[in-house]
């Protein structure tokens, strides 16, 4: 809900110089141990998602009427058939977590893609066109920012009906303002710079200016915001799932799994613990990478 909370570069601190060559970027990224760990974790989760069919010991929705709420293997009563135990209706928790990676990653990526596309567009328009259009766009963004994001997301889901797609849409809407603001601020910052003026004098139309000249130059803060945005999106969608408004059963979405497990909190710690843990790890991984990206892309902070 609060990616902007991190000391992400405000757009005014956007890099001004020429883009970094990839090699230099990689060197500085690699120097950041946390970021490398984060990247490794993301790759692991990604592989898990892609090869879920192979990796997971059981199908995610297969119930076993003889194995309700079995504990993990190291506890008494547990077995290696269900390494992390089973849930209330006898489904393998490990398998559900593995399949859940698909959902959570898709949520993160889809939300960020949608909000970056729409947000950047709105931001560019607001920055370039200005006037009444710009004001209206920014006022609407202000309104979205003023309302607690989860509340707004809940209302949107209530309108569209609970479900994975609708939850993603709701999250995309509530994170939109961050991208709009970054893009707009970058545009305003870049607009007066020489190269834009030069291009304009050279007869470039506003569309070409926007897409061809300004956009690449405000890419850095957007990329950082995007990687942090994935983690926000995963967290928000999980929160909606936890409130019963996200992905619907039997989808093995992590937040939904948690919501479903809540009543067993006193009786079966594992059904509550593991889904939360994978959410935490995944979100942390994206945040680590986001941090690394920022340090690598933002020369100002690199001392």
């Amino acid at each position: 809900m609060s990616a902007e909370l991190l000391d992400t570069p405000s757009a005014s601190a956007a890099p001004a110089g020429p883009p970094h060559p990839l090699a230099e970027f990689w060197t500085s990224f690699r120097a950041n141990k946390g970021a490398v760990i984060g990247l490794a974790l993301i790759v692991a989760v990604l592989l898990m998602a892609v090869f879920a069919d192979v990796v997971a010991p059981h199908p995610p929705n297969l119930t076993n009427d003889a194995a309700f709420l079995k504990p993990p293997f190291w506890q008494e009563g547990g077995s290696l058939t269900y390494p992390l135990g089973t849930d209330a209706i006898g489904r393998d928790i490990l398998s559900r977590l593995i399949y859940g990676a698909r959902l959570s990653l898709s949520i993160g990526i889809a939300v960020v893609t949608v909000s970056i596309l729409v947000g950047t567009m709105l931001g560019l328009i607001a920055g370039f066109v200005g006037g009444a259009t710009g004001i209206v766009i920014m006022r609407v963004m202000d309104i979205i920012l003023t309302l607690p994001s989860l509340l707004l997301a809940i209302v949107i889901v209530a309108i569209l009906g609970p479900g994975l797609m609708n939850a993603m849409l709701a999250v995309a809407v509530v994170v939109l303002p961050h991208y709009v603001r970054i893009a707009r601020a970058a545009v305003i910052g870049e607009k007066s710079k020489d190269y834009v003026t030069a291009a304009r004098v050279g007869g470039a139309g506003p569309l070409r200016l926007m897409v061809g000249e300004v956009l690449p130059n405000c890419a850095a803060p957007l990329i950082v915001q995007a990687s942090l945005g994935v983690s926000t999106a995963i967290l928000d969608a999980a929160a909606l799932g936890f409130l019963g408004l996200g992905a619907q059963p039997p989808a093995p979405e992590w937040g939904t799994m948690l919501a479903d497990a809540r009543e067993f909190v006193l009786r079966a710690w594992w059904v509550v613990t593991f889904p939360g843990l994978v959410i935490l790890i995944t979100v942390l991984a994206f945040n680590l990478v986001g941090d690394g990206l920022r340090d690598a892309l933002d020369p100002k902070l690199k001392r």
Binding site: G161, P249, L266
Partner: protein, 531 residues
């Protein structure tokens, strides 16, 4: 906003509270939610009824723990032989509670009874619209049509005249909506320009008076010393509002509360093992079911319905979702109800047989359907979504692909009654213990219309004739026969997959003496004491 909070602090409460006598008996009930307000006539939830029933008396009431109607504010009554006139002789010397804005100057009398009914009945009563004009139960029980007149004979005698004889009328008067409020208080509040107070800072004649209410936190009562039947054994009664079932159990375990409703099925085992806790139980008057929409393909074919009945593992549902809070259902009425046909055999769990039946019906390659699950917990179904997941997995094994669907609760019930589903879960809790209330209300042809309560939209001539005929006869033995036959037809035609009857379970700490389960699921604390 001087009333800075909803907290209703009444009477000399503050002075008293600080000096609660040592050894005062305080019973804490971990209730499941906040009452809507303290006017039961406009409410529909048990939560609200529990909160207001400690405060008010009725003319007649249910004997604690039973469905028997006993005297309350009326000591005796006469019914004319035609069953159309009820004369009630009211109790004398019954005192009203008081609070900081109102001190009663008179005892309870006939004016209060007339006021309490006219307020729900006559649109020109100044209080008809106060709080709400939606007097749900007064309407649902058909009283606007049934009541011809209500007259005061003298200060302690009133007479109801009905338009037709109605056997359950007395029981209606014992229901929470018929609570008696003070006309004197109402008039005083109207004069003061704060009529709402009547329902927010209630004055009653009941065993407890309201001391404090803080939304989502606490309802605090104190025993009314002048209660006509004698002061309650408890000194204080506290409803600690605790919406989460696991938390309620944790509190009960720690001794932070004495009684809790609606336990988590998952925690029942631990409850039974706890030496400080006793789990009271009673079969409930309810049924949870999955209805097949018999007007839509492929469920117009009885073989498909039968096949699905055989494909779903009922025992697994009971074990995983109800645990010990439910018993498997084979008939549409609960086993405690008269005319329950125990000779009926339930469809066996037989996936192979189901496949064969499906093939016979032309679905050898399987079929797809929707599977509606309520978004909310209901008394007869602790977790519809989880049941849906189990059913979905079972159905997949016989080649039926079911897609789970859900809507917002009000919307859900409306759409199901409109017949938009192919298969949908729902259930029913009985009002009066009569089989007609299940068999005709839920499965008769009249209710199969769009918007009707027959969610299978099932209209079977043989069945309908049986239950319609049973409605018109008064002889119980004869009715029993008809209903037993109807249950046979029901099973053959399989409009429902009958899931379970929920059992009312109430964990109570051992120091609580004489708490009784109510067949209606209410919680009454007069008569209860603490060791």
């Amino acid at each position: 906003m001087k009333r800075a909070s909803l907290a209703v602090v009444l009477g000399a409460a503050t002075a008293l509270a600080a000096s609660l006598p040592a050894g005062a008996k305080t019973l804490v009930y971990c209730s499941e939610g906040s009452p809507e307000n303290f006017y039961p006539a406009v409410n529909t939830t048990g939560t609200s009824f529990d909160a207001s029933s400690q405060i008010y008396s009725n003319i007649v009431n249910f004997e604690r723990g039973t469905t028997n109607v006993v005297p309350d504010l009326a000591e005796t009554w006469d019914i004319t032989p035609d069953g159309k006139t009820y004369t009630f002789h009211l109790r004398k010397g019954v005192k009203w509670h008081s609070n900081k804005v109102f001190k009663p100057t008179r005892d309870f009398n006939a004016d209060d009874v007339i006021f309490s009914f006219e307020r729900q009945w006559k649109e020109n009563n100044p209080f008809f619209r106060v709080t709400s004009s939606n007097h749900t139960y007064f309407n649902d029980m058909g009283l606007p049509k049934l009541l011809a007149s209500l007259d005061k004979i003298d200060d302690y005698t009133i007479r109801f005249t009905l338009t037709q004889p109605e056997a359950p009328f007395l029981a209606d008067l014992a229901m929470p909506f018929a609570a008696i409020q003070s006309k004197e208080y109402a008039d005083a509040m109207m004069k003061a320009g704060t009529p709402d107070k009547l329902d927010q800072e209630p004055i009653g004649t009941g065993p407890f008076y309201l001391l404090q209410y803080q939304k989502d936190a606490i309802v605090r009562y104190r025993a009314f010393p002048q209660y006509y039947a004698g002061k309650a054994a408890l000194d204080d009664l506290v409803f600690a509002i605790t919406p989460d079932a696991s938390v309620r159990w944790a509190k009960l375990q720690k001794g932070e509360c004495h009684v809790m409703p609606y336990p988590n099925p998952a925690d029942i085992d631990a409850m039974r093992k706890d030496p400080n806790v006793q789990v009271l139980e009673q079969p409930g008057l309810n049924i949870g079911y999955l209805a097949y929409n018999t007007k839509r393909k492929p469920f117009d074919d009885v073989r498909v319905r039968k096949a699905l009945n055989m494909a779903i593992n009922k025992k697994a549902i009971i074990d995983a979702v109800y645990l010990s809070t439910g018993v498997a259902a084979k008939n549409p009425i609960p086993p405690t109800m008269w005319s329950y046909n125990d000779a009926i055999k339930d469809d066996p769990y037989d996936p192979e047989g189901a496949k064969k039946l499906l093939a016979e019906a032309g679905f050898a390659n399987g079929l797809t359907t929707d599977l509606w699950a309520m978004p909310v917990q209901r008394p007869y179904n602790p977790n519809a979504r989880r049941i849906a997941e189990l059913m979905q997995a079972d159905l997949a094994k016989v080649g039926v692909k079911a897609e789970i669907k859900s809507y917002e609760w009000g919307e859900y019930r409306k759409r199901v009654q409109d017949g938009e589903h192919q298969t949908a879960m729902l259930g029913w809790t009985g009002d009066n213990g009569d089989p007609d209330n299940f068999l005709h209300t839920l499965l008769g042809c009249a209710a199969a219309e769009k918007g009707g309560g027959n969610t299978a939209k099932w209209c079977d001539k043989t069945y309908d004739d049986l239950v319609t005929k049973a409605k018109t006869i008064t002889d119980k033995a004869e009715r029993t026969k008809l209903y037993e036959q109807a249950q046979v037809v029901f099973k053959e035609q399989a409009p429902w997959f009958t899931i379970a009857h929920a059992v009312q379970l109430k964990p109570v700490r051992k120091e609580v003496v004489d708490f009784k389960l109510s067949p209606f699921g209410r919680h009454t604390f007069y008569g209860v004491s603490l060791k």
